[in-house]
């Protein structure tokens, strides 16, 4: 998703978080200081990035732990 421009963020304090979440957060959050909203947005993006990374790692670990006869099947299912 394309990042909002700075003017758009100034007009709408929830624009960045909306972009990070892919949906509009509750409007009650608009009362938060800009720094808190930016940090929340960053926390969401960090969580998503970390999740993707951990999922990648889990595939490698799974293939390493699987018994040899099951590795081809597991590889096929996990990597498509």
């Amino acid at each position: 998703m394309k990042r909002q421009s700075a003017p758009a963020r100034l007009q709408d304090p929830l624009a960045g978080l909306t972009e990070a979440l892919g949906s509009r957060p509750p409007k009650a959050l608009a009362v938060l200081p800009r720094e808190a909203l930016e940090d929340l947005e960053l926390a969401v993006r960090d969580a998503r990035a970390r999740q993707a990374s951990e999922l990648d790692s889990s595939v490698e670990t799974s293939l390493r732990l699987a018994p040899r006869p099951l590795k081809p099947l597991l590889r096929k299912v996990l990597t498509g």
């Binding site: 949906s23 938060l32 926390a43 951990e54 889990s58 670990t61 299912v77 990597t79």
Partner: protein
């Protein structure tokens, strides 16, 4: 104060969902708990949807290999957070076979990461006696806020088993923060007079009357009278 405790609990749950430190999100405690809960659900949905294909592959893998190997991979490769998210996409029958091969400590860690909106079948697949062991483990760790997120989604038998092992401290805090407070009346009805007295005495001793009052506000007349009688005695 009431909303503050609920908001603080919601921030703790949101931090867990984001795998970050609650301190980092402390500013959010100024928001109403209802808004924070909605935000937490949005975050959970976003994180599940963002990697849904990978989660679906992991779920397919869990169904393609022997249950013993699926359990080993959950514990050693996925860890509790990813297991909780994958589990929401695994069939109920398959989940039962995997759950019975996982240790209580790991299941406890998965339980607090589950989003019951997507994974209630996982909670339902855990037999009452094991759920009680898991709850006791979480109580020992002081994970009362996390427990308040899933306890309400248990079967009646599992709920009874869980309530029977919880400390007065846990009963008071989990009861106050319970996400489905309509179950509180049944929970209190299942408490012995002795347990109820412990809860009431703890609330008085630790100045936690607000939590007790919050619980009472969801009770029907009969159970409310029981609590009042203990409090007066």
């Amino acid at each position: 104060m009431s909303a503050a405790l609920h908001s603080s609990a919601e921030v703790e749950k949101l931090a867990r969902c984001l795998a970050t430190d609650p301190e980092r999100l402390a500013a959010l405690e100024a928001c109403p708990p209802r808004a924070l809960r909605k935000l937490r659900h949005q975050v959970g949905d976003h994180l599940l949807d963002a990697d849904r294909r990978a989660f679906a592959r992991a779920a397919a893998a869990a169904s393609s290999v022997p249950a013993a190997l699926a359990a080993k991979l959950a514990e050693k490769a996925l860890g509790p957070l990813l297991t909780a998210r994958v589990a929401s996409l695994v069939d109920e029958d398959r989940i039962m076979g995997i759950v019975k091969r996982l240790p209580d400590v790991f299941l406890a860690e998965v339980a607090v990461e589950l989003d019951p909106r997507h994974a209630r079948h996982v909670l339902l697949s855990i037999p009452p006696d094991r759920m009680a062991d898991i709850a006791a483990e979480l109580d020992r760790r002081g994970e009362h806020v996390a427990m308040s997120g899933f306890v309400a989604y248990l079967t009646p038998d599992a709920l009874t088993a869980v309530v029977s092992v919880l400390s007065a401290d846990a009963l008071l805090r989990v009861g106050y923060l319970l996400e489905a407070p309509e179950r509180l009346d049944g929970i209190v009805a299942g408490l012995s007079d002795e347990s109820l007295t412990e809860v009431v005495e703890l609330a008085a001793a630790e100045d936690r009357q607000e939590e007790l009052a919050g619980i009472c506000s969801h009770l029907k007349a009969r159970q409310r009278r029981r609590v009042e009688a203990v409090a007066i005695a």
